[in-house]
Structures are given as structure tokens and as C-alpha cells.
Assembly symmetry: D2
């Protein structure tokens, strides 16, 4: 959350909020913005009848560019409804730490999308458990690269160092871009709600190793991938995005792995973009995604 | 638009509105509902920066079930912003006239979805340019069936009769369920915004007859269908819904026609449902669809 | 398998075969057909390197319409390679028994597709564990309807009767069109390779009751369906076809059920068509599907 | 076409052939391979009833690794049926020339897929009408980069130079990876059947500039891309692959362009892979694609 959004460069800005649902929220927020000379560009809300929780995302900008809002001005409204809220300039590009293992298809894709401006983020660093030359053809363009091999014996130290780097780099988001290590519950807890993982998905699902080989043996006709927030329940956190592709009996496990790479990278990129645009809210074990 | 929505059975209700965009709309609507003891269940809005038009859909219900709203109460707000608006009970099932030619896959599908309750409508009648026995196995369950053959010479009379039936039956919606006749501009004008058509779509598009044969000859890899509001521009009205399916070189034109039937019926059904749930707004040559 | 395919009405015909893979099969089959004056219209084969099994499907017809083939003529080739084989006229419409419970969306869809000629089968009967009036609006057009309620106490007797009806009706295929009963291993064994079931599928999968409610609680972004051959492993037989649809956080369990119906019926219809066209081969726990 | 495929490293190999359809082809090919001690790994054929043309793709390998085939051995069979044919080691990695303009998403993607081994090709060079620093972050890893600006006045000279480079580099394939220049009929003729282009596709299609802006104005619900062989009919050559993505009224033209990039690069990559694996045959104005 931005310390303040005073200054024209701060607009348009995004207001995200959630609270127990009760009548009057939309009117109160709408009026507040209107009375402060702010025009609503986009607004989406969701009333989760199951949980009784209310979620809202509003993109706004001053009618008079000279006009500015200071965050405390919204506090009375927020306090009245007990809101968990944030205001962030749309132009804000969160610093992001990317963790990767041997396969770099997601890493390469994320960096490319950042360069084209498609992903409004700033890569604060890359943490890999393989050495730099594993990604020889990747132009890091000055992004800090941290080689952190991990073994059963050094896992705790390695995670401590990861956490230190995340804080030191000011990373607001951590992406597990095919990082094949399970994070400890302790680290997961520290990264709650800001650590996104990608993994393959099948119908039906498979447990254990070599899932693509299992999918081949089982003769599934679709393979997919799921991007989710990391929780202590392995590969079971709140789902942000999913997609699938059709396969056939002729596709070998190697072909499935290749097609899987395509799905993984596009699903992860979509999930990260939704997160960066502040479209994703966690509601218990699921997400609310205000897709564009 | 409902004459009034007084009475508990009328809730939840849907408020749909559009007007020139200007600051304060969301707050005004939100406050109005709140001050009248109405709770917002769902709300979506869209600010079409291109046209400057604002669109909003709100589902609401009284906090106190005994409380009721009379439409004039909203008029001041509506007038203030120059809104084009309507309030309709969610339970309202619009009367619908279905026009069909020889192929009945869309007709059969629409009637089945009405029976399962999936499509909240009441079929006021079926107008076909083929005789009743063309649809021998279809149990109309008392739905009036009107056989209206059409020839170049009788087209005007036939359309006059169609229009008479639409009014007489109180139909709020007209569905061209693979009705292979082009309506005259005069009739199209009378049905503006409440007549939905379905037709095949390809990339690239094809003009002229036997489109599936053209698609085969051209070797397209995808075939699709488009549901849209009917305008005087043939098959070019505002698009409500589209979908496609993958095909291969081995699919004969007959197979394409068969696969096309599947796409046509599901695209039409989705478009009709969006319309019935009052999720679709026409904005010039396109639509705004507040998908669930 | 046709007793014989003598007579012009028998062509084109489909030869399906499988055997241990070994060099020379394609040549032997190709030559056999050529030497017997038969032209290949379509041919697909698959060499399952994992299992060492070979699968082939050939559509053929005589160059000289007067020419006919008697099955024994192919026996030497078949015996030489130890083939499991069949020759069937493309015009053959297998008799099919459809089992259904309360929800009839798949049943209605299958019967409609049979009438349009899309599904080349002949419904030999319908076995329902709900009374006829559950499907009041369905015109059976003379198809025998068998009401067979089932309870824990009568399950064995009911299955015995089902098996009697399948044999008595000469049904070659049994379709579980949302038949919510688990068949006993004994009955499953008798129907091996000719009983198709449809069930919902999710990523990740869910065990237990009310799967759509679980999917909602879990916030999955895709829901799907799987059609498979029935084996003693519940919902785990060889997969024939699968498909999915995108959903959002706003979709209630009721909406998921509705969208699920659409996926279920089209996935089941595709699987049944593949089976009827003799495009599906079972290879251990998976299928080989020579899609058109 | 390989000069010869003598030597174990040459296997498995792919035989691709097309000829006027007539009985006996499959048998003749199958027998030839069998008699020469070659085992069929994969085989697909298509009998285009519309054109009377027959197409076949066979992957084969010697039963005895020491055994080799010399091309002339197949000539008698080929001549007998008047086949247009080729035999190529699966390991063959065609040299490829990639042409690009300002947008490099397809170029970056193709090079990445080549490095991972997903695309079995060797990039012989890159021809760009923008200077090298336009692609500053792209590690070319020694791939020759040719900056060839083009103006109306220099187009002929530029194309002459392109053609010279294609020949000099031994490129068997030319990829227009978002190369926004129309090639002259003369150059197109020289590249017939070995030049692949990618372009956006919509339902309905749009002519003229800024297609994504037109798609936005028209409110289409799907955007797509088409990969095709280049012919003198602009963007109308035989289609190899197509795909689409769902969009909404909220997606600005900028978002459509971004989503379009994703579709373009994956559709182009699939088309190139099909071509490299020799799965694509041109049949008049369409293609036959023996998908894996």
C-alpha cells in the first residue's frame, strides 16, 4: 500500500477493500469519492453470500487533476465498515522476487512480459537453486541473480537467506516460477497472500512423481496448469487461474511436458498480471478475481 | 420494465441503467438503495471511455422483507442523471416468441432449457415457415405453433402477421433460432434491442451460400457461431456471445454442419440467458455484457 | 461384428484390428484389401511403444460395386498376426440401451442426436430408476421404457433384470446417461468395453458428494466432464473424451451444475459417436481414439 | 529432401508422399518398407475425396540397425504411382530464416523454443527492417542478424537481398514472425510452400488498419490468430493453425493487442512445429495436417 497518493502522477489509483457485508458500503464509497472530487473509472464488487464477506475494487481519478487525496481522508469510511483496504497508484510497479529451478520457461516468459510492459512489475532479483550458466542465454539486464543450492541439510539456512533477500530487496511479491522446492510452513506464513506458484493440473489429478508420465499412462485427453497462492497445504492454496489443452493418445510424455510448459507459462503470467493489477482477493480457501 | 415492484415476491430485483458518464452516479445509486432499506446483492458497472456512456446493473433486495419500493421513488435520481433505466424482479420470466425454419436444433434446445428452468422465460409461441410435422417429435406442451410459409410475394403480409403475433402474445423477446429469413428493415426497427439471431462464424469470414462448404474448401481449423441483436445490417448487429470448436482436414462439410449445430445452440442459449438476466446493454455497434 | 459383409449395401465398411506390433502389418492389410479389389477410404494406425500393441482402423469399399468380401477371406491375414479384429458396415447402427436417473439432460440429448442422424445408433430401450412421468415431455417415439427402481435390498435383482434386458434387446452398447447408481463388478464385467459413463471432472479432483459445491468452495476456475468406459474402478475406466468450461467466483453451485450439464451432454455425445464410428480402442487403462 | 539416408544416425526417418488417389498405395508402401526390413513407427494417410489427391506420412526405422536404405530403392514404387515424395531423417533440423519487424514477441518465442529443443530447426539468420538495438535484450548467440530497412523505393533491392540470403544460408524455411511487409508475388513464388506467416484473425474478419481497434469498436467476444503459408493472396494462403481467446467489453484495444501477442506466438510456434515435423501437406487452397 502506498504511503500516500498525493500528486497527479499517482492517478488513476486503485482502491481495494474487503469487509463483512452490510448495507450501505457501495453508497458510502461512491459518495466519498464523489465528495472528494474523484471520478470512478472502473468498479467491481462481489458479495460472497457463502462467507458474508464483501469485496470491492475501484479505479478512480480526480476530476480536477490538481486535486489530491491523502489516505487519512478515507479512514473514517474504512473504520465505519471495518474495512481491510489499500489505495495504490495504477502506475505502481511492485518489486518482485522470482524463484526458479532448472526449467526456465516461466522465468524467461515473466522477464519478457516485464520488458514489454505487459507485467507492471520490477524484478528485484532471481533466486535459483541452479547456477547462473543454467540460464546462459538469458540476458538479466542487471537483475541480481542469487545462486542458492539447497539440500536437506541446508534447507533451513537457505530459506532464512531467501527471506532476508525478500525483505532486503523490498519485494512485495514472490513468484515460484517452476521452483521445485517445497517451502517450509514458516516461510509460507511470512509470504501469505503474496507468493504465487504454478503447477500442472490434470483431470483426474495425480499424486506423486512424474505426473506427465502418469497422465500418459492414464490416457487423459486434457492437460492443464493451475496458478495459486502458496499455503502450507502443498499445491492447494487459493486458485487464481487455470487453463488446459487438448492432447491425444499419440502424445508421448515428452510431448505432454512440452505442451505443459506452454500452459504453465501463460497461466502463471495471467495470474501474476491479475495480482499486479490488484484484481485478486483471497476469501478463505478461494479467490475472487475481478477479471478485466 | 415492471409496472411496479411492490410486494416481497418482487425481490430480489434488478436495476439496469445507462446514462452519460459523470461523477457521482455510483454514490447516488448506492445511497438511494441504502436510504430505502435496500441491500445490494450484486453490482457491476462499466464506464465506456470510448463513448462516454455509463452502464450499471444492480441486484438488490430489502433488508426488511416487508419493505417495498415504488418505482417513482427512483425517478428523481434517474432524472438527475438522465438515466435510461428499468427495475425488474429477478423472478420475471419474459414472454418470448421463437422463429424457426427447417433445422430445429436451437428450438429444441431452447425449449428444453426453459423446462429445466435454466432459461427464465415463457415461450409465447413458435413461428415456423415449415409445417408442424417438420418438428414431429417435439412436445410443444401447449405452446402455440404458427405455420407461416413465406415467399417473395407474401413476405410483407407474413411479417405483418409476425408483428401482430408478437404484440398479441405480449412477447418481450424474439429469438431467431436458425430462422433462415432476412427480416425487413421495418420489422427489425420494431424489434430493436429485443431480437436475437444466431449464425455461424469463421476465421476468416465467408460471404454467400453454403458457408460450411466454403470453410471446408478453405481448410479453416476453427468453426464458430455468433449470437447478436438483429439490426438492418444483416448478421452484423451488436455481438452478445461467440464460441468456436477445433476441426480438422478430415471433417467433411457434413461434419462441419453437425459440429456447427452444437456451437450454434450453446452460443444462442448463453446469449439468451444473458439477455433474460438483463446482463446485456447495447452501446452503439457493440454490447456490454456483465457476465455472471 | 457383422456376420458377413456380402452385398453392396454393406459398403463402405470399417476394419478395426489390434495385435502385438511387428513389421509387415500395414503392408499385409494394404495388400489384402488391394488384391481383393477394395479401395482404402481412410486409415489410421497407432503403434503404442509403451505396450507394444498395434491398433488400426481402415474404412474401405470395393472398386467394383459388384465385388463382395466374405469374412473368412481375411482370416489368414488375421491369424498370421494374431489379430483381434472386426469388419462392420459403416451403415451399421448398433442397438443401444440407455440407463438414466432423475436428470435427463444427457438422455434428451442422445435421443435428439439419434433422430437427427448424428448418432448412428438405435435405442433399444431406456432403463430408469425413476418413473416415466419424470420425463413427461420426452417423446419416446415407441422406445421401450423400463422403470426399475433400485434399493440396497433389490440391487442384485435389478441388475439381473438389466442384464436380461440388455441381452433380450440385442444391445451392443450401454450408456450410463447420468445413471447415478454404481454397477456391481459382476455386471461391469459383462459389459466390459461396451458401457460408457459420463461424470463431472475438476482440477483438482474431488472425492465424495456434492462435487459442484466442493468446486465452488475450492474456487476452481474450470469445471469439466469425462466420458469413459466403465470398469470396476469407479469413475476410473479408460477415458474416451473430456472437456471443460471456464467459470468465475460469481458462479454459485447451482450455476456450476447448470454449466456442468452442458459439458456432460456434449462430452458424452462425442464419446458415444467415437464409439459408434468404431474409432475407440482400449489399450490397458487408456484408450486410443482415432478422431475424425 | 535428404540426398540419402544411409547410416544408422538417419533413423527413424519420415516418408512423406502425395499422388492421385488409386487403390494399392498403402499396400505398396507398406510392403516396400517391410521387404526392405523397415518397421513402421507411425503412419497417417488422407484421401481427399474432394480433390482426388492422396497424402501419406510414415515414420519408419530399420528392424536391423545395420540395415540402410538408399533413396533410389523407393523410386520404382514412387514412379508407379506418380508420387511427389521425400524421405527425411527425423533428426534433420532445417535451416530457417526469420523475418521480423518492430514487434519481437514471435521472434523471441521461436528462438527460445529452438533452444529448448522444442522446435527442431537451426536459425540460419534474422532479417529485420529495424536496427539490432530494437531487440537489445535478445541474446542471438551468434545467429547472423541482417538489418534491412525497406522503403517503397528500395523494396525490390531489399527483396533481392532477402532472396540472396535465403539461398546463401541454405534456409529451407522462411518465417514471417510479425514481419509487417507484404512480399512481392515474385518472392512469394520462390518461397512457395516454405514460407509461414502469422496474422490476427477475428470473427467477423476486418479489413484495413488497426484491426484490434476495429475489433474493440465492433465488440467481438473472441480474438484469434492464423498461421498460414504465404501466397500472392495476402493473408489468404493455406491455413496451418488457428486459435482464439475470449475477451470482454472491458478489454481496451491495448489489452487486445497484448492478448493477441500471446495467441500469435503460440499459433505460429505450433504451425512451425507441424511444418518441421513434416506433418503439413498443401492441397490446393488448404492444408492437410497430420497432427500428433
Amino acid at each position: 500500500m502506498a504511503a500516500t497518493i498525493d500528486g497527479p502522477t499517482m492517478y488513476p489509483a486503485v482502491l481495494t477493500l474487503s469487509c463483512r457485508n452490510r448495507p450501505g458500503i457501495v453508497g458510502a464509497v461512491g459518495n466519498f469519492l464523489h465528495e472528494h472530487g474523484l471520478d470512478i473509472r472502473e468498479a467491481q464488487q462481489f458479495d460472497d453470500r457463502a462467507s458474508g464477506q464483501f469485496f470491492m475494487r475501484v479505479v478512480f481519478a480526480p476530476v480536477d487533476p490538481a486535486r489530491c487525496l491523502t489516505l487519512p481522508e478515507f479512514s473514517p469510511v474504512a473504520d465505519d465498515f471495518g474495512m481491510d483496504w489499500a489505495m495504490t497508484p495504477v502506475s505502481h510497479r511492485p518489486r518482485t522476487m522470482i524463484l526458479v529451478s532448472r526449467f526456465d520457461h516461466c522465468l524467461v516468459d515473466l522477464l519478457y512480459r516485464q520488458r514489454t510492459g505487459e507485467l507492471p512489475m520490477e524484478t528485484a532479483g532471481i533466486i535459483a537453486n541452479h547456477p547462473r550458466d543454467t540460464y546462459a542465454h538469458l540476458d538479466l539486464d542487471g537483475i541480481p541473480f542469487h545462486y542458492m543450492p539447497v539440500t536437506a541439510g541446508t534447507k533451513m539456512e537457505q530459506e532464512t537467506e531467501i527471506w532476508r533477500l525478500v525483505r532486503a530487496s523490498g519485494a512485495e511479491l514472490v513468484i515460484l516460477a517452476r521452483y521445485m522446492q517445497v517451502l517450509s510452513d514458516a516461510l509460507v506464513a511470512k509470504l501469505a497472500g503474496r507468493c504465487i506458484n504454478i503447477h500442472h493440473s490434470f483431470l483426474p489429478g495425480f499424486k506423486g512423481a512424474k505426473p506427465y508420465h502418469q497422465a500418459y499412462a492414464r490416457g487423459v485427453k486434457l492437460i492443464g496448469a493451475t496458478a495459486h497462492y502458496v499455503t502450507s497445504a502443498l499445491d492447494e492454496g487459493p486458485i487464481i487461474e487455470q487453463d488446459v489443452e487438448r492432447i491425444s493418445h499419440g502424445d508421448t510424455p515428452e510431448v505432454l511436458v512440452r505442451k505443459g510448459r506452454d500452459i504453465e507459462r501463460r497461466v502463471l503470467a495471467r495470474a501474476v498480471l491479475h495480482h499486479l493489477e490488484r484484481r485478486v482477493f483471497i476469501s478463505g480457501s478461494k479467490t475472487v478475481v475481478f477479471a478485466g
